[in-house]
């Protein structure tokens, strides 16, 4: 994880932060500001409650750990911005997809909104998740190509 190039640490710091940020946005925006979701709608089966509790705790832990990993990357000069931000998008997308499919649909933890036709909301939720994953994958692949090609931005370097 803390290898000499820090590529794993860059990715993990990003993924953890992505998961943490989505967990926060979900809790702050949808639960507390919009009141679309409920704190607990009482119809949740036990598995859903456990899954929610684990991800709630993991969201907190992930955010804090990601920031300390990030600080360590910066201090040792191994921070790779595009790898790190690719990780954020990937983590955010996967968590959003998990929330939108497993937690909302399979476990029935709660729905996105109550008293409306859900299809549009569910589709938007999960399509946003897929777009985040795709964007993250593109960034990571680019970061890998740059790393394989040696120096970043060779065109600029050759012109100079």
């Amino acid at each position: 994880m803390s290898g000499p190039t820090g590529s794993g640490q860059n990715l993990w710091s990003g993924v953890l932060l992505g998961v943490g940020v989505v967990a926060f946005v979900d809790e702050a925006v949808f639960h507390q500001i919009l009141h679309w979701h409920h704190f607990y709608d009482r119809s949740t089966p036990a598995a859903g409650l456990v899954s929610d509790g684990i991800f709630h705790a993991f969201g907190w832990f992930a955010t804090v750990a990601a920031l300390f990993l990030f600080a360590d990357l910066r201090r040792s000069g191994r921070l790779h911005w595009s790898r790190w931000s690719g990780g954020i998008l990937l983590g955010a997308g996967f968590f959003q997809l998990y929330d939108g499919t497993v937690q909302h649909k399979l476990f029935g933890l709660h729905q996105i909104r109550y008293g409306v036709d859900l299809l549009g909301y569910d589709l938007t939720w999960n399509i946003v998740a897929l777009l985040l994953i795709a964007a993250g994958a593109v960034l990571l692949l680019r970061a890998r190509r740059v790393a394989a090609g040696g120096r970043p931005l060779p065109s600029v370097a050759s012109r100079a």
Binding site: F39, D52, A57, F61, V64, L67
Partner: protein
């Protein structure tokens, strides 16, 4: 505990004990020592921890019917106060203040098998979270309000297990057998999850005799208050990791290039 005419109340006993604890700590901290001055922030943390404990005991005894007040008292007594007290490094202070023989005895006690067991994250977590589940979903909540002794035992357990848990996760006192970072991280996450699951469970299934509105308010206090206290532990744990990694890297860099500055 209930007011039982004539005798002294639990609040009085605990307040007296906590004042004595503050006095002992401050006395030891301000004494001249060959090892330099004891940091002021640790003194302040100890005093704050004792005050939070006193306020929590008061709140717990005052609010028999108010579940939210009770939840707040438990967050204070079982989570916030232990973290504050643990950060003031009372064992380190005791080791340097005691004369040689008792200090050695204390050090031997800390290395003993029972202390090692109780300050390992897993037993500490089981005691901590297990106690909470027993109290709130196992029916102890109702009976501890009619039985004074049970009340004292439950609250002492909440406080002591909270202290052991904070020490096992992010203790600053000397600990010759500290568990690896991964163990502490996983156990802390599991306890945070268990705490939030219990809070939501209580939201829908309150203990006997607790009205629904009071149970909802109380379980939300427990959920968010528990989060706040746990996040402090997460930050302390990750900060310890950050420090260790930095130190290790510094050491290995120094050993690789002994000739350079």
């Amino acid at each position: 505990m209930h007011n039982h005419g004539g005798g002294i109340s639990l609040v009085e006993v605990s307040s007296f004990g906590l004042l004595a604890a503050i006095a002992c700590y401050v006395f030891a901290a301000l004494r001249r020592s060959p090892r330099g001055r004891w940091p002021t922030h640790r003194i302040l943390l100890w005093i704050a921890g004792c005050l939070v404990t006193a306020l929590s005991v008061q709140a717990a005894t005052a609010n028999h019917d108010d579940f939210a007040g009770h939840a707040l008292a438990h967050v204070g007594l079982g989570m916030l106060a232990p973290v504050l007290l643990m950060l003031s490094a009372p064992v380190r202070l005791a080791l340097r203040s005691l004369s040689a023989v008792p200090a050695r005895r204390l050090a031997r006690l800390l290395r003993s098998r029972p202390v090692r067991f109780l300050t390992h994250p897993i037993p500490a977590a089981v005691l901590n979270l297990g106690g909470l589940w027993l109290v709130y979903s196992g029916g102890l909540y109702a009976s501890m309000h009619t039985n004074g002794l049970l009340f004292v035992v439950v609250h002492t357990h909440i406080f002591v297990s909270g202290y052991l848990f904070s020490v096992s996760i992010a203790g600053v006192d000397p600990n010759p057998h500290r568990a690896p970072f991964a163990t502490r991280a996983i156990v802390l996450s599991v306890v945070m999850a268990g705490h939030s699951i219990l809070s939501k469970y209580l939201y829908a299934n309150p203990p006997a005799d607790v009205p629904a509105a009071s149970a909802e308010a109380g379980s939300m206090v427990m959920y968010y208050g528990g989060d706040a206290a746990s996040v402090v532990l997460v930050v302390l744990l990750c900060a310890a990791w950050y420090r260790d990694v930095g130190r290790r890297r510094g050491r290995s860099a120094a050993s690789r290039q002994p000739s350079t500055v």
